[in-house]
Symmetry: C2
Subunit: 371 residues, 2 copies
């Protein structure tokens, strides 16, 4: 006879305590109270008409943020990584090649994924070209103009990761010929992590809905997701999975905030604040990792790790003394850079001043080797 033998854990008797912190790393960014509070609206059914209306609002908000008319626009119930897998699982079939522009860890990961679904990368005849618009590991902003047209000339789809860039720098899904575009909720949108906007062009849908095989994932199968999000023109929606409704509330609110300010103004603000920040960094003798001005992300700034210092000591000092997160490198940029993200509501000159003060203070107090 079985019996209860594992006792209730003592650690759960302690009340949950979470500190407030300035989230100026590459993400997640701070979530304003308005967006957090949206998430405490009551949980109702994932198939209730009110939820479908909220999902429709989200769809419109994403179409606006992405500058697209694509009907096949929705939010995946997961993070940016889930959206990335959704894009690849649905478009790539056994026998298909994927070309990935490796410019940082994001590119590398897409390559890793493509390998995982059995594809060796080939430089020729890929069905998908993957590109990260904003490389948050290196702070590089990739130009997109012309790439979509080039892809289409060779019958290839253009898949763009805009997790770190969109809302902070102009991107035009339709005009730039992007076939699949995704982002996360926790960067410029300032919503909690857990939902990921994604959109598919007509051309991408042609490929997805004419597959010979089913995608490996049922959870991310676009034909199911399209129905749940009311994108397939069918009169009724069928139960697929339990949508994270409270995360939808917050996502909707974050899109409303973006729509209120306006995308163009948001981009201008991010660019101005970034210029102000970059000038401030240079005036205190720090170097920007991305030399070319046009290639700098306005959302995530990479600073060359100050010579003679241990970067880890700097970030730790700033966290401890200023309650402020900035981070080191990621993947190819580990040890080479400090990364500062000022995204969405965090992108203000006051916050720049705060980061500059913290950096000055850190350089004064952290150990400098006598090289």
């Amino acid at each position: 006879m079985s019996s209860f033998s594992v006792p209730p854990p003592k650690c759960l008797q302690k009340p949950l305590a979470v500190p407030h912190r300035y989230m100026f790393g590459p993400g997640p960014s701070n979530v304003p109270s308005r967006i957090l509070m949206a998430g405490i609206n009551p949980v109702i059914g994932h198939m209730h008409p009110e939820i479908f209306e909220i999902m429709n609002d989200i769809k419109s908000g994403i179409q606006y943020m992405f500058q697209t008319q694509n009907n096949m626009t929705l939010a995946v119930s997961g993070t940016g990584h889930t959206a990335m897998e959704c894009a690849i699982f649905n478009t790539v079939e056994p026998g298909d090649s994927v070309l990935s522009a490796v410019n940082g860890i994001w590119g590398e990961r897409a390559a890793d994924m493509a390998e995982r679904i059995g594809r060796a990368l080939s430089k020729y005849r890929p069905v998908v070209l993957f590109l990260a618009h904003g490389e948050s590991s290196t702070g590089v902003l990739h130009p997109l103009d012309g790439i979509g047209q080039l892809c289409h000339k060779y019958g290839c789809l253009l898949l763009v990761d805009s997790v770190a860039s969109i809302g902070g720098t102009p991107l035009f899904m339709d005009q730039q010929g992007i076939d699949i575009l995704y982002t996360g909720s926790q960067k410029v949108l300032n919503a909690p992590p857990g939902t990921a906007p994604i959109s598919f062009s007509e051309r991408a849908c042609q490929k997805v809905f004419n597959r010979r095989t089913k995608p490996v994932s049922f959870f991310l199968d676009l034909s199911w997701l399209a129905n749940y999000w009311g994108c397939d023109g069918k009169p009724s929606r069928v139960y697929h999975h339990t949508g994270p409704v409270t995360a939808f509330y917050s996502l909707r609110e974050s899109l409303a905030v973006l729509a209120e300010e306006g995308l163009e103004k948001s981009c201008e603000r991010h660019e101005k604040v970034a210029e102000y920040f970059h000038a401030g960094l240079e005036s205190m003798g720090l170097k920007l990792f991305v030399k070319e001005k046009k290639a700098r992300l306005p959302t995530v700034t990479t600073i060359v790790a100050p010579h003679g210092y241990d970067w880890k000591e700097i970030t730790t000092y700033i966290m401890k003394t200023h309650n402020l997160e900035i981070s080191g490198g990621l993947g190819p940029s580990v040890g080479l850079v400090l990364r500062v993200g000022l995204m969405g509501c965090n992108s203000t000159k006051d916050n720049v001043d705060m980061v500059l003060e913290a950096l000055k203070d850190a350089l004064k107090h952290c150990h400098k080797s006598k090289v």
Copy 2:
């Protein structure tokens, strides 16, 4: 030159409005204020030490709920479906067979997934046997005793879906020899949908970590998840994906609530309330869909669709008049049953009385055909 051409959508100018509703369908269930409020703690980094501590608390809470000592215990950043895919993606390789006990839509879906990763179901030599402990589509509670031992005799892993059952009826992962167990956050736990507890036995880990091929999903690759959740014994955690931290806060709180009441008491409460409910249904002349008392889920009750009525009219009437969700069937039980879920904080005699009143009222006011 590209330009902003898609205007901000008008629908986002309307403030978000979500009604309160009694969520007495098969899930999600109502989320008490304490658990919702936990979710408005500030977003901090998914790799901050405070988050790792919260994740450790969650791990302990899941070990308690699952009655397991398994070190490989964590929460997937997704819904129950994501956990299901996590289980199957990590254990099943090309060439492996999966046996699925099809007793309702859940079994059918696992079968569908197994087929998706290239496996035809075979009755012989499966590496995994899938079983839903609580079949919320039919209201059936499956006995588990002895099945684990039988599986292990034939070198097979036992995979159990406890989304609709755990916390409401006894389940003992270790003692019952379950190798992989998962559930969702939005049923008995009364947390918002979006996280899914899962645990792997030592035997399951042997299979997972001796694969010849990588799992198809990077996002659900257990070797990465194990590291993120501190289950792999490595001294440091590497960035995998941005954990949905606010969903973690709510999940931790829901596990704390369960630990406070105690698992045994929670199960007893669900069973008593279910018995009271079932007696009430029978006394008003309704029939239970599951004849055998022992095979009835205490969390989700299936009622034979009242003869001569349109079930859809009943659920619609009750929603409209009583602001209360009960649902029709799902998959094999569509048209045959009404389903009522009383899970977690919803499992009270007062709520039973409310449902019985609503049903009586509906049978009085809905159209009865003259058959």
